[in-house]
Subunit: 165 residues, 2 copies
């Protein structure tokens, strides 16, 4: 409520993640470079799902230029550090989301508009653990993606049908 920008929940999130990444890198004998810091910042600024190229474009727009190669290399490290994780939306391109400290999410994807809605589904984790146990697997993660047609796309479809008929 003060004039000066107060620390937000986001700030509280940003500080530790930067530290966590730093610690991860140190443990692996890797370096915390300005490029890696910039990329982590860009990732933290993304509210939902993102792609490598999207990150590149947005960083260029913000004059935080980093090469494509470095983005790909850093995304890999961020995944190893469990800060982000891959979301399988389509098989053409990799999609990521900030996942540190978040429960795994399900995704509802509109096949017409590509709109993506995240939802929680804690019961999936139980189902995962049960199935892993049945097959002797050690669970790592899981993905649940639902494909459907969004209300908006449904309206568009109906409009088309009227024209056709």
């Amino acid at each position: 409520m003060s004039e000066a920008k107060p620390a937000t929940a986001d700030d509280q999130l940003i500080m530790p993640l930067c530290a966590i990444f730093r610690r991860f890198l140190k443990r692996q004998g890797l370096k915390f470079t300005t490029e890696r810091a910039k990329i982590l910042d860009a990732v933290l600024a993304k509210p939902g799902i993102f792609e490598a190229d999207e990150l590149l474009q947005e960083m260029r727009a913000a004059d935080q230029r980093v090469s494509k190669a470095t983005i790909y290399r850093t995304l890999k490290h961020l995944m190893e550090a469990k800060i982000i994780s891959e979301v399988l939306i389509d098989s053409r391109q990799a999609h990521y989301r900030l996942s540190f400290g978040k429960e795994p999410k399900g995704h509802l994807v509109c096949v017409e508009t590509n709109q993506i809605i995240e939802f929680s589904a804690a019961e999936l984790t139980d189902m995962r653990n049960r199935l892993c146990k049945e097959h002797g697997f050690d669970p790592v993660s899981h993905r649940f993606v639902i494909y459907g047609i969004s209300p908006e796309a449904q309206k568009a479809e109906q409009a088309e049908e009227v024209q056709e008929g």
Copy 2:
């Protein structure tokens, strides 16, 4: 039980699917070519999940040569005809499975060995429909993929740890 090969469950499956594809093509004003028939046969011969290039190699080995481009074009039609569907295993390459008349399957993937186990999970369809309804979506399909470490890979890991320690 006779000497002549009796009709198998597979034969019963193959006949209608070929007919179904044919009908689908006719409806779209497309042609049922020998290449499309050969590709459908190759797909029907696959018990589980397959990739485009795998199909190409196997067809070459069986002297049923078709071009890469035709395989990709035909896989697209088979998906439109709902005979196969895409399985999201990784974001590098498309994976498919014969899906006609089968209930949607979940997949348990070993992150070390890439072994894939299919499992049924009817409750997922209910969950899907419930979530679609909540968001006003018209359900199309869904995917549930679990990542874990298979028993074999676990043993290999333990062996490594012993060596390291």
